[in-house]
């Protein structure tokens, strides 16, 4: 009986947390449904009196929103696969290294995690200029060639480390190449981690606000974060409109997250599997 009460309390707490953490996203969407031009509410409005979807087409008329969406999609669509590929390969290679190099690479990656973004702003510009990538979408895709973030490499590394070494020994004795061991054997076993990295890196490229501010000057190459900033400058207190734009930007990330969150937050499936053995 006491146990049951405790469990109930636990769930109540959980639901309280859910409420608090879903509030931001709930407000983006409900506020975007409010009619423009109405006097502002004087009490909290959980649901607008006469909800409308009008704000959405209106932002697409007001600013070239469609082009911003397209540019953002091109960037994320190109950068995410490159990121997953490079991070997965590197994580696998790291997991198969001997103790000494594994440790060195691990420490280097953890140190790199601490390198602040601002420290590369100034000179990434120069390097991108040498490549002729300034003022092209490649400037925004570029981080993918460094696996996006050392975090992604580490996530793959930890996942590959959980695979028993005997599996690879056996394959090696059968004369499997390194590529085959990665592609056929290892990669399918860390699918949840790949999903995690897809979500995290998509969010990173899709939301990247700093890179277009620094490296993109052609207005036809602006991405969504800059679009939102432009809309804000046009009409800084038109909340329904601003929230509709925020919703357009948040929606794809949210959909991706909802579809993939199962794998995302249970990225420990392999650990569980091994507990049973």
């Amino acid at each position: 009986m006491k146990r049951k009460a405790g469990s109930l309390l636990h769930h109540a707490l959980g639901l309280g947390i859910v409420f608090l953490f879903l509030l931001p996203i709930f407000w983006i969407f409900t506020a975007s449904l409010r009619q423009r031009g109405l006097p502002p509410p004087t009490t909290i409005e959980w649901w607008p009196a006469s909800p409308t979807l009008e704000n959405y087409p209106y932002i697409f008329e007001l600013i070239p929103m469609a082009r911003y969406v397209r540019n953002s999609l091109i960037v994320a669509g190109t950068a995410v696969p490159i990121t997953v590929f490079i991070a997965s390969l590197a994580g696998f290679a790291m997991s198969q290294e001997g103790d000494l190099w594994r440790r060195r690479l691990l420490i280097a990656s953890i140190v790199l995690l601490m390198v602040p973004g601002a420290s590369v702003w100034l000179f990434r510009f120069q390097i991108l200029r040498w490549f002729g990538w300034i003022d092209t979408l490649w400037a925004l895709i570029a981080p993918a060639f460094a696996a996006g973030s050392p975090l992604y490499v580490l996530l793959f590394f930890w996942a590959y480390r959980r695979i028993p070494a005997e599996i690879f020994e056996a394959a090696r004795l059968d004369g499997a190449s390194a590529w085959m061991m990665w592609w056929r054997l290892a990669r399918p076993l860390v699918r949840p981690t790949a999903v995690t990295v897809i979500i995290l890196s998509f969010v990173m490229y899709w939301s990247d606000f700093v890179s277009p501010v620094l490296y993109i000057f052609r207005t036809d190459l602006y991405t969504l974060p800059i679009g939102l900033q432009i809309l804000k400058q046009l009409d800084p207190t038109n909340w329904p409109l601003l929230m509709a734009a925020a919703a357009v930007m948040t929606f794809p990330v949210l959909v991706l997250f909802i579809f993939l969150q199962r794998s995302f937050l249970s990225d420990l499936s392999i650990a569980n599997l091994m507990d049973q053995n």
Partner: protein, 283 residues
């Protein structure tokens, strides 16, 4: 097999390591984005000290970090402890905690611009319902700084997931034998969970010190642009202004280095005070 590391290593060298080293070197030169950098020794650092805004931005950053980082880490730890249980519902609770973290920063900033609106924002309307006169938030220096802290507290998904993984890495058998020895939940938290989690907490704290400061850029750029009265002028925004508005790249690099040397000292102080708590290798 080592070949597999090549793209990651080359990419990281080109895009992260070399630019970071170049920044360090350029901080000892006068460089205005065109021409050749001229070596000036420590002149940039001397200039920084006489520049009032530098002190303001460092103070703002320190206040922000002192408030935001402990709250973010403790918050993530509490949530991970509360929600680590198995079961469908708990899976959903965990997913919900992550949701604010995935909201793109430009959208997130606009949302809080509205939430903090003193007259029509939901926060003050809510406080009004409770009979409390809400503050002017983004218009007052103190509350504006606080506002940036508050909005950072919802985006703690990364720390939350890392600590969940840390909790999972602790063998169940430890808890079972503690239970046999008659330890209650409170004791096994202090005796088992916290010590075994400490390397994770440590790495997370260091990363959060760097990342939280970095992540003030978008909100301070979009919501307040450093104002009111430079209350939300944090180091990254000032570095951006120096480099990309005034093209004082040498000075910007020096401020960057100064900021992160100070952060490094804080980290060393923490290590000194608590010790490293084991290695993160097998984590």
């Amino acid at each position: 097999m080592r070949l597999f590391l090549l793209p990651y290593v080359v990419g990281t060298l080109l895009l992260v390591v070399i630019p970071a080293i170049a920044t360090v070197l350029i901080s000892f030169t006068e460089y205005k984005a065109v021409g050749v950098p001229k070596f000036v020794g420590l002149q940039n650092y001397r200039d920084l000290l006489s520049y009032g805004l530098v002190r303001t931005s460092l103070r703002n950053s320190a206040i922000f970090l002192a408030l935001a980082v402990p709250l973010r880490i403790v918050g993530a730890l509490l949530l991970a402890l509360l929600l680590q249980r198995k079961g469908r519902m708990f899976g959903l609770y965990r997913a919900a905690v992550y949701v604010p973290t995935i909201i793109p920063e430009a959208a997130y900033a606009l949302l809080w611009l509205w939430i903090f609106n003193p007259l029509y924002g939901p926060l003050n309307l809510f406080l009004g319902m409770l009979g409390i006169q809400g503050p002017a938030w983004l218009i007052e220096p103190t509350t504006a700084r606080l506002a940036i802290v508050i909005l950072s507290l919802f985006q703690i998904g990364e720390g939350f997931v890392v600590l969940l993984a840390g909790l999972q890495s602790i063998p169940r058998s430890f808890y079972e034998s503690a239970k046999v020895d008659g330890a209650n939940a409170w004791q096994s938290f202090w005796q088992i969970t916290l010590p075994l989690l400490s390397p994770w907490l440590m790495v997370l704290t260091f990363r959060d010190l760097v990342m939280s400061l970095q992540n003030t850029f978008a909100p301070s750029f979009i919501i307040t642009y450093g104002g009111p009265y430079y209350a939300t002028m944090f180091a990254p925004l000032l570095i951006y202004e120096m480099a990309f508005d005034y093209f004082e790249l040498g000075l910007a690099a020096a401020l960057l280095l100064l900021t992160y040397v100070l952060l490094g000292l804080i980290v060393l102080g923490i290590i000194n005070a608590v010790g490293l708590g084991g290695s993160a290798d097998e984590a």
